[in-house]
């Protein structure tokens, strides 16, 4: 008979170990960028890092937690506004970014009490309404500029080249932290619980997993990540404008990136963000046609290729950059006849 002992279960393969080395090299290369390329390149890459962060957060939420939100722009906005307000109080904006994550997570808790009352598709629209509420409330406050928004103080004294490089490194660092954070989270007990919930929520609950609590944790983490992204955006742009920072377009970007890249794979948002970023660089001047193209691609991917680019690739090759699952590394085969009768007489 097959016993668990006859299988050797591993998380990582050699290819994953190699890929970690490769990723490390890529990271080092990215760190060197400000010394190598023009400032315009690094400053547009800040946007890429923001996209990686928010898409990873959305992937965590929707791909692993099963919570499709189209209201994560709420936390981007809250993060951004926190940086502005903290800077007014004299806190350095780069420190303020972390406070942005904290405020986002803190506001996400009461928000989740309301939003979690809606299931499935209704949750999605509910989060959108809540994001709208945050925007509408924010423009009521005159001390943050009302509907006009407000400029960031505290960084304006810095040399523009230095500031740009600093922003770049900061954004890069946060992006790496976010991706590693997701990786760590999914390998923890929470990741295991999430997988169980995703496979069969009822059984997972019966198995003693507090599914709502786990989902709430994921929701808070995702809010914090989006808060970081919002902080980076305001540090980069030096001002905040409520309609732009609370725009549902952020959700559109997250969704597009994750769907194209591969939902439910940590690698998906990275691939998707690269694709999206490239499209944005080359096609953005096409305006509405470009957006229509994005929409059509998202529709086709969601309906016909739900696994996305990375899903298709990894299914063919078995290759994973971030091994969060388990696989059988070695099998000591004992022939088992499944048709052998239970009793013989």
């Amino acid at each position: 008979m097959n016993t668990p002992n006859s299988l050797l279960i591993r998380r990582s393969r050699r290819s994953s170990n190699l890929s970690f080395v490769a990723l490390g090299l890529v990271a080092v290369g990215l760190v060197m960028m400000p010394y190598v390329v023009y400032q315009s390149v690094t400053s547009s890459m800040v946007m890429l890092f923001v996209l990686v962060i928010i898409a990873s957060m959305w992937n965590l939420l929707a791909g692993f937690g099963g919570l499709v939100s189209i209201g994560q722009q709420a936390y981007i906005g809250i993060g951004a506004y926190t940086v502005i307000v903290m800077a007014d109080l004299g806190v350095h904006p780069l420190i303020g970014v972390f406070f942005g994550a904290l405020t986002s997570a803190m506001l996400a808790l009461p928000t989740s009490w309301l939003a979690f009352r809606l299931r499935g598709d209704y949750f999605a629209v509910g989060t959108w309404v809540i994001a709208e509420v945050y925007r509408l409330v924010m423009i009521k406050f005159q001390f943050v500029g009302g509907a006009d928004g407000k400029s960031l103080v505290g960084l304006s004294g810095l040399d523009p080249v230095m500031r740009s490089a600093l922003t770049y490194w900061f954004a890069l660092g946060i992006a790496i932290l976010t991706v590693l954070g997701c990786f760590w989270l999914l390998r923890s007990r929470i990741g295991l619980a999430l997988t169980a919930i995703r496979d069969d929520e009822v059984s997972a609950r019966a198995g003693g997993i507090d599914a709502t609590r786990i989902k709430r944790i994921v929701y808070l983490v995702s809010a914090a990540g989006c808060g970081l992204a919002g902080g980076i955006l305001v540090v980069d742009a030096l001002r905040v404008q409520p309609d732009a920072i609370f725009s549902v377009s952020w959700s559109a970007y997250m969704i597009f990136i994750v769907i194209i890249g591969g939902i439910g794979y940590l690698e998906g948002p990275l691939i998707g963000a690269l694709v999206f970023f490239a499209m944005q660089q080359f096609l953005a001047e096409m305006g509405t046609w470009y957006l229509m193209l994005l929409g059509v691609l998202a529709i086709c991917a969601a309906a016909w290729f739900p696994k996305g680019l990375w899903g298709a690739f990894s299914q063919k090759t078995g290759f994973r950059l971030f091994p969060v699952g388990y696989h059988v590394a070695q099998r000591f085969d004992t022939p088992v006849d499944s048709r052998a009768p239970l009793f013989r007489n």
Partner: protein
């Protein structure tokens, strides 16, 4: 007697599980056939494959010589197959009468009408407007059968009629099967209770891990023999009946 339903060499998969293997069966006009087997023997999957909600991976299914393998479940109802699903599965937001009437959706002609069902189960008439959630398990089972009969099927499939019901109620519900057959309808039913199955059926077959391990005329089959097949005890005892050689593997 002519062959009404003919299942030929079908294989059905349930995810990775090979639930039904190389299964063949002929059901003749007006015949009552019982499918006996333990939990997980593939009986329900077989029924669903015949009814058209679960597509076989290979093999064909014929009704009166017509190949119905490619018809979806709704069309098979139109062709004359109706399944009473396991666990009744009544529509909870519809009243008793509305549940029955869903059976008339395909408008097949025949002896069964709402009045005929009320005659078969007289208690239904005055409770026709009640929500089905208020009915007892046995009553719900009767509604599920009535719903299937209202499509005036040529073959009535019944999956685990006795599930969760008291034996006396089960006996009473089985008691109406001869009435159904009188109207010219064949019945193919799944039953775990061997004695119950053999007392009702003309013919019985035993499924084990997706294979037919024993078939025979119900009155000639011995209970112990069926029970052996049921549990997969394949050796010993004389082989008077047709027996699938696979059973020994």
């Amino acid at each position: 007697m002519t062959t009404l339903l003919s299942v030929q060499e079908i294989n059905v998969h349930h995810g990775q599980l090979h639930a039904v293997r190389d299964f063949s069966l002929d059901v003749n006009d007006g015949e009552k056939t019982a499918v006996i087997g333990a939990n997980g023997a593939g009986k329900s999957t077989l029924m669903r494959a015949i009814a058209g909600t679960h597509r076989p991976t290979s093999g064909r299914i014929f009704l009166r010589g017509e190949d119905i393998t490619d018809l979806h479940a709704g069309r098979r109802v139109e062709a004359g197959i109706a399944l009473v699903p396991e666990g009744r599965r009544l529509f909870r937001s519809l009243s008793l009468e509305e549940n029955l009437l869903t059976g008339t959706y395909r408008k097949r002609r025949g002896t069964w009408s709402l009045e005929a069902i009320f005659e078969l189960f007289p208690w239904m008439k005055e409770r026709r407007a009640k929500p089905v959630a208020r009915l007892s398990g046995g009553e719900q089972q009767a509604v599920a059968i009535g719903r299937a009969l209202l499509s005036n099927p040529d073959v009535l499939l019944i999956d685990e009629l006795s599930l969760g019901l008291a034996p006396s109620i089960v006996a009473r519900i089985y008691g109406m099967i001869p009435r159904v057959v009188e109207t010219g309808c064949s019945v193919l039913f799944v039953e775990q209770n061997v004695a119950q199955a053999l007392s009702v059926a003309d013919r019985a077959l035993c499924l084990l891990e997706g294979r037919t391990v024993l078939t025979g005329v119900a009155s000639e089959l011995e209970r112990s023999e069926v029970e052996d097949a049921y549990f997969g005890v394949a050796h010993g005892r004389g082989g008077r009946k047709e027996r699938n050689s696979d059973a020994d593997s």
